[in-house]
Symmetry: C2
Subunit: 533 residues, 2 copies
C-alpha cells in the first residue's frame, strides 16, 4: 500500500523509500482503516523547520488582510467539506458524527478560525500602547519564527494541530505553523491540511506557512522541540509527553504552552443535593460520559458530602453509570492508560462502585465510578488525584465543610474547579471559604454547571496552574487572548512613523483600540508625528 505524502516546504512530499509507516484504527472495532501514513524522518523534520523558518519574516510582514483572508477561506472550505471531514473523523475517533462532530465541533472550529481572522484584522491581540511624551510605542508582534503544534487525540477538529485553536492563534499572530497531527486521526488531519494548503494559495501567503507531519520517534520530537529556530510550542495531550517536550524546549529558551492534565474537581454542597440531587446526578453523568469522558475538562473528581442527600446522589449517579453502555475510547493506548489509572486509584484505596473494566469490541470501557473517603484521600492526595482519562470519576466523600476545605487545599493545579450550591442560600456559609480555597488552584472557577463546556469567548480561560498547563498566565481558548501566546513584546523608541508597524503609527489604520497616554482610544494621534520628531 502506498504511504501518504506529508505537507513539507509548501508541497505534498512523497515519503522516503522504506520509511516506517502506520495506519489509523477504528476504535469501535480495533481494525486498521485507511491508507498508510509515514513516520516522518529526521530529514523531513529538518526540511519542515528550515522551510518554515525561511518564510517567517515574510509571513510576519504580510498584510493582515491576507492573514484574515486565509483564515476565513479555510473556515469556509472546512464547512464546504463537512460531510467528508465528519466521515473521516468519525471513522478514526468513533465520536458521534451528527451530535458531536458535525453539530458542535466542526462549527466551533470554523468559528475559532473566523475569530482569529477578526483578531488579525482588528489588531486586538497586539495591545498597542503609546506614550506620546516619551516617544515610546509598544505592542505584541509576530515571533518571526515557526510555531510547532502538537494536537491531542480528543478533538479531531477543534484542537487539531492544523485547524484548531493553537493553529488559528499562531497564524493570527503571523507565524508559520509546523503541525504535528495526532496519529489517531491522520486522514482527518491530512484532509484539513489539504484545505489549508489551498486556502494559503488563495490568500497569496507563502505555501510553507503551514506544514503537516504525522508522527515521529520521540527522540526526534525532543530534538525538534529543543531547536532554537522554533519560536514557540503549543501542545495538548498527556502530562508525560508534555513535560518531556517542555523540558527540551526550556533548555533552548523556547516558550512552551502545554495543556496537560486535570481532574477538574467539583464540589457538591449539601443544600444543592437536597434541593436538586437527582437532576445533578443527571448533569454529572452526562458531562462525565459525553465523548466517553475524553475531555480535558472532564469532571474527574467529585467531592460529595456524607449523609442522606449525598448517599441519594451517589445512588442516582450509580444507577446511571451502571446502566450506560461502555464508551469507546480513542486508542489502545488510551484504554491501557485509563485501566492503569483506575487500578492505581484502587491500589491507593478507592473502591469501585461500578465499571472499571474494558468491554467488548474495540477500545471500550465501562463508565466507572470510584469512591474514597475524604479522610483516606487526604492521606495520599497526590496519588488519588491522578487523572483517569475516560468516562470515570472519583467520588470523595466528606464529613463536613472542614474536610471539603482540606481536600481543596490538597489539589495541584487544575483547569477548572466547580461549586454546586443551593438556590435558596442554604450553602452560602460554606460557599465563600470553598471558593477562596479553590480559586488559586484552578484556571476557571465555575458555579452550578459542569466544566465540560468551554465557550469560545474573550473572557474564557482554558488554562490553569501547573501542572494542568505549563503557563498559568495564558489561555488556549478565546480570542484574542490565545493569540498572545505566540507573540513577542516589541517596543519602538523614537522610531520614525514610516518605520512603525501599522497599528503604532500616528494614523490609526482601522480605528483599533490603543492605550494612548493611559486612555483607550480608537482615533488618530492628534499631534501627528510629535512623538517621532
Amino acid at each position: 500500500m502506498d504511504v501518504q505524502p506529508s505537507l513539507i516546504g509548501g508541497e505534498w512530499r512523497a515519503p522516503e523509500s522504506a520509511c516506517k509507516s502506520f495506519r489509523a484504527v477504528d476504535p469501535s472495532t480495533g481494525e486498521a482503516i485507511g491508507p498508510a501514513f509515514p513516520v516522518n524522518s529526521a530529514l523531513e523534520l529538518e526540511a519542515a523547520l528550515a522551510s518554515a523558518s525561511a518564510v517567517a519574516d515574510e509571513l510576519a510582514a504580510a498584510p493582515v488582510a491576507r492573514i484574515a483572508a486565509f483564515l476565513d477561506a479555510y473556515a469556509h472550505a472546512i464547512e464546504n467539506d463537512a460531510a467528508t471531514l465528519v466521515a473521516l473523523a468519525h471513522a478514526e475517533t468513533a465520536l458521534p458524527g451528527e451530535t458531536r462532530l458535525a453539530g458542535v465541533e466542526l462549527p466551533r472550529t470554523c468559528r475559532q478560525l473566523r475569530l482569529a481572522a477578526q483578531a488579525a484584522r482588528d489588531y486586538s491581540w497586539t495591545h498597542p500602547v503609546i506614550d506620546t511624551g516619551g516617544g515610546l510605542r509598544s505592542h505584541y508582534a509576530p515571533l518571526h519564527k515557526p510555531v510547532l503544534i502538537f494536537g491531542p487525540n480528543n478533538f479531531p477538529f477543534a484542537f487539531n494541530a492544523v485547524a484548531g485553536s493553537d493553529f488559528a492563534s499562531a497564524i493570527a499572530a503571523r507565524n508559520p505553523v509546523i503541525a504535528k497531527a495526532h496519529p489517531s486521526h491522520p486522514a482527518t488531519s491530512q484532509r484539513l491540511a489539504q484545505l489549508a494548503h489551498r486556502a494559503l494559495q488563495h490568500a497569496q501567503l507563502p505555501s510553507a506557512a503551514v506544514q503537516l507531519l504525522y508522527q515521529f520517534d520521540s527522540a526526534l520530537g525532543l530534538q525538534l522541540a529543543g531547536d532554537a529556530r522554533l519560536g514557540a510550542i503549543g501542545f495538548t495531550g498527556s502530562r508525560h509527553g508534555g513535560l518531556a517536550l517542555k523540558a527540551a524546549a526550556d533548555r533552548a529558551g523556547i516558550p512552551a504552552y502545554m495543556e496537560m492534565s486535570s481532574v477538574n474537581p467539583v464540589f457538591m454542597l449539601p443544600g444543592a443535593l437536597a434541593e436538586r440531587g437527582e437532576q445533578l446526578a443527571q448533569e454529572f453523568f452526562a458531562s462525565c460520559t459525553m465523548g466517553s469522558g475524553q475531555f480535558c475538562t472532564n469532571p474527574g473528581l467529585l467531592v460529595v458530602p456524607d449523609g442522606a442527600a449525598g448517599d441519594a446522589f451517589v445512588g442516582n449517579a450509580l444507577t446511571l453509570f451502571a446502566g450506560a453502555a461502555p464508551g469507546v475510547l480513542f486508542s489502545r493506548g488510551v484504554l491501557e492508560q485509563l485501566d492503569a489509572s483506575v487500578t492505581a486509584l484502587r491500589d491507593w484505596g478507592a473502591v469501585c462502585l461500578t465499571g472499571a473494566s474494558s468491554a467488548g469490541l474495540g477500545y471500550r470501557y465501562r463508565p466507572t465510578l470510584l469512591q474514597v473517603s475524604a479522610r483516606a484521600f487526604l492521606k495520599n492526595p497526590r496519588e488519588l488525584q491522578r487523572e483517569a482519562f475516560g468516562p470515570t470519576s472519583l467520588l470523595v466523600r466528606a464529613r463536613d465543610t472542614e474536610e471539603m476545605l482540606a481536600v481543596a487545599a490538597s489539589f495541584e493545579g487544575n483547569l477548572t474547579g466547580t461549586l454546586y450550591s443551593a438556590n435558596d442560600g442554604t450553602d452560602d456559609a460554606a460557599l465563600a471559604p470553598l471558593a477562596r480555597a479553590l480559586r488559586p488552584k484552578v484556571g476557571r472557577l465555575i458555579m452550578n454547571r459542569m466544566p465540560t463546556g468551554v465557550a469560545v469567548s474573550p473572557a474564557m480561560n482554558h488554562g490553569g496552574p501547573y501542572p494542568s498547563t505549563s503557563q498559568a498566565g495564558f489561555t488556549a481558548v478565546g480570542m484574542p487572548a490565545a493569540v498572545r501566546r505566540f507573540a513577542a513584546l516589541h517596543c519602538y523608541d523614537h522610531v520614525t512613523d514610516t518605520l512603525l508597524p501599522a497599528e503604532l503609527r500616528d494614523r490609526n489604520p482601522a480605528n483599533i483600540a490603543r492605550l494612548v497616554d493611559g486612555h483607550w482610544r480608537d482615533d488618530d494621534l492628534a499631534t501627528a508625528g510629535s512623538a517621532t520628531a
Copy 2:
C-alpha cells in the same frame, strides 16, 4: 564582629551561631567595609519560604488601598532616608552619589514604587474582560504564592531585590516577596528592608510579606528556585547564574523571568557619521562609560562603516576612551569576568584599540575599545557577541549595507538594537532593511539615541528575545505591564457577583477600564446581575 540579622518571617532574625558570613567591599579600594552579613542557611531559607507561603492568601485578599499605601509609604520613607541610603550605596558600589544615586536612581526607584501603587489602586494590571452574554469574566490575579527576587549588582536602588521594579511589580500583584539581596551591597539592602518592614506595619499588611536574605550557597539557591511553593522568580544578573536558576525553576513549573545579558548592538549609518560624527562619538563614549559601563543596556557592540567618516568616528571615540580615567567596577568578580571576556574577544580576533587592562587601586578597569572587521565577526559571530560587562565596546567595521545586514542577522536575542541615521535622508535606503533585520532580534528598537536610557513608561519594553531574557513577551520595567509577570489568569464562569473580585463585579469599583463585550468602558454594567443570574 556581630553578624547582622536577616528579615525572615516578619522579624529581624539573628543569624545562626557559627554561620558563614561576608562583608561588603569598597570597590574603589578593595577594602572590606561595614558589618558582617550572614550566608543564610537551609533552615533560614525554609523559614522564609514557609512564612511567605503562609501569608500569601491573606496578601492576595488584602484591600488594594493597603497595598498602595504600603508602596507609597515605602517610597516616602526612602526619600526621607535618602542621605543615609545614598551614602551606603555609594560606599558599597562606588557609583557617583550626587549625579547618579541621589539625582537619578533614588527618585526613579520611588517613582516606580508609586507607579506600582497606582497600578494596584486602579487595577490596570488586572486587564478585566467581561462577556456578559456568556457569563464569563476574567482578569489577572495574584499568584497566591511568594515571588523570589534576585537583585543585580548594578542598581542598588532601582533594581534592588527589596525595592526595585521586580519588587514593586510583585507586591502590586499582591504577592509576598522573598528578596535575595545582591551581596555587593548588603547594607544598602538591609536599610531598604528596614524601611519596607516599617511601611508594611504602617499599612497593616502581614509583616512576612517582605523578607530579606543576603546570600546563600548556590546549591541551596537552586533548591529554593525549584521549590513548588514558589509562585515565580524575578532575576537580573549574569547569563550563567540566570540559566542555572531558570533550569531549576523550569523543572518545577515555576515561571522564571530572567534578565540576563545583552550586547545592545548599535548601527552607525554612514550619513549620520558624515553629518555629526564627532557628536555621536561623544554620545557613544558617555553612554558606554557612564556607571563604568555596568548597564544591562550598555552599547557593547557598534557597527561602524569602513571609510573616512567611520575612521574619523573611531578616531574621535578612541581619543575620548583613551583619555578617560579608569572606571571602578562593582567587585573583583566583575573585574575578572570583564577581563576574561575582553581576553576571549581578542582571542577570537578582535584588536584592542585602547584599554583592556585593570588599573590602580580597587577594581578599576580602563575604558576599552576593541575592533574587528565584519568579515571576521561573521566567521565567529557567537564568540564575538560575548557580553563584556563594563566600560567596553566592540567596533565591528562593515564594508557596506550588505555586511551590516549580515551582522544583524547573526545576532542572538538582545534587549535593545539601535540605528543612527542622517537627518537629511541620506541613510534612508539602508534604514528600512536594517530595521527589519534588527527588529526580531531585540526587545526595543531605538533610533538616534543611545540604549542606556530606560524610561519608566507603560510603553517601555525592558526585555527581549532569549537569551537576553527568558520570556520575550514580558518587560521588567514599566507599569502596569511589568506587574503582569507575577500574575495568574483567572476566569469566573457564572459566579455570583458577591463572590467575584472587586474589578469584575457589576458595579465598577473605581471607574477602571474593562473590556466589556469587546469595548473598553469604565462604567458599571448596565444590566446589573444579568450575567450571574
